[in-house]
Amino acid sequence: MELLTYTFVQYAFLGGISMAILTGILGPFVVQSRQSIASDMFAHVALAGIGGALLVGIGPWWGALPALIVVSTLIWWLLDSGTYSPDALAMFFLSGGLALALAFVHIARDTVFSFENYLFGSILTLTTTDVLAILVSTIVVVAVLWCLWYPLLGATQSPRYLIPFRRTPKLVQLLFFWLLAIVVWVGIKTIGGLLIGALLVIPVLTVRNWATSFKQLVLLSTATSVSSVSLGLMAALYVDMPPSSLIIGMSILLFILQTVVGSLMRKRQM
């Protein structure tokens, strides 16, 4: 418990729990709209932004945010035009982002920089500015979701559950992409770009059979996500393992646990 008095540990918990709230709340929208792979695509785009930031000499993480907002808008526009299929677009930006990132880092000739921190996160090295940025992002995303709950719920539903034809506001779908971009931005600093998708999806799959409404689903997936991050971080303080892998490990463990419990309960009811 003495470890909890260290500032870097407190920052890790603050940043981690904020991220867990973000992924827990937005995850059901992501899974419902079949955009699970989009978080991975955005993470690779963020790497290009990080590379670009190195080139112009600003903080790498800060370079990722404008890149994410610009490219998420572009992806939304391309999807809306209906010219390209979503999976083809995902692969285009996923590979394109990574290639651009490699090129930028090579041109910048920064020998100290390592992509690893952004691919797998660096939650134990968060600074005061990082934590503040994460907290502000969390407040913004939660406030937008609070104010536009039903429009976002409508815009991310399967078309057959929507208010049909001409009623789906395109701008709400763009807003959803921006929210996802912000969550990925927070994710690359904390749990890592390659692992943020797991935290968006696994808690939703864990609790989907226990909820009867979308609101319940969001609350339960947020609780699961916060539990995974808290348990994973606690474990990382005592076990010499990367915090990100422990967090995702906890998330998978909770999924397995609910699957076993759920199947035992169903057998008992039969």
Binding site: P28, Y150, L162, I163, F165, R166, P169, L217
Partner: protein
Amino acid sequence: MNNPVITVNNVTKSVASRRLLDDVSFTIAPQSLVSLIGPNGAGKSTLVKIILGIDAQYEGTVVIRPGERVQYIPQLVIDDQYQLPMSVYEYISIATNRLYGNSSKKIDFEKTLSHVGVAVEKLHQSYISLSGGERQRVAIARALLGDPTILVLDEPLAAVDYASRSGLYELIRHLQKDHKMTVLLVSHDIDSVLPLSDQVLCLNRTLHSNCHPSELSTQDGMYNQTIHHHC
């Protein structure tokens, strides 16, 4: 016909040299219940998309009388194993938003559900746990919140069990009269929709008949020839 709510004039639609609709023309009178019947691939859904303005790639003209408010209930697909839980309350609440073209007025959920014959206890149940008939009734309730003057239903009984069918048709007929709506009903279920309809459109790429159902059944051989052959 005086001042029709929907006027379809010489509508032709082709995709990759295949003709889906061929010179289709008809009008729909205000406050009538019109059945659009035809076999699979007849072009019913294509025609509905053109009328709703979803599909703009066609020849001819479609005019909806100015000031009409259209609501559309698409075909129900009952087996969607990937759908996440959403309560009936949430399903209806999505509609009550200015962003979706509806007013954000406060809803009396009890009245909304009882109006379509759904028990108010279902309000906080998962929408996907409801039967096909109940889902369609809730979908109709949601559509009515938009205060439509034209209601388009695509195969409303496609995933509804046999016992619930007549009740649902009666509800549609009752609501149509109660709300003074024009209803366009797309259906395969020819024998059930004919007695309810004021006008029948039998489509199989071209319009094979456009008349009152009694004219179909009284014309010798016409019913069998037109309905069971073409539709």
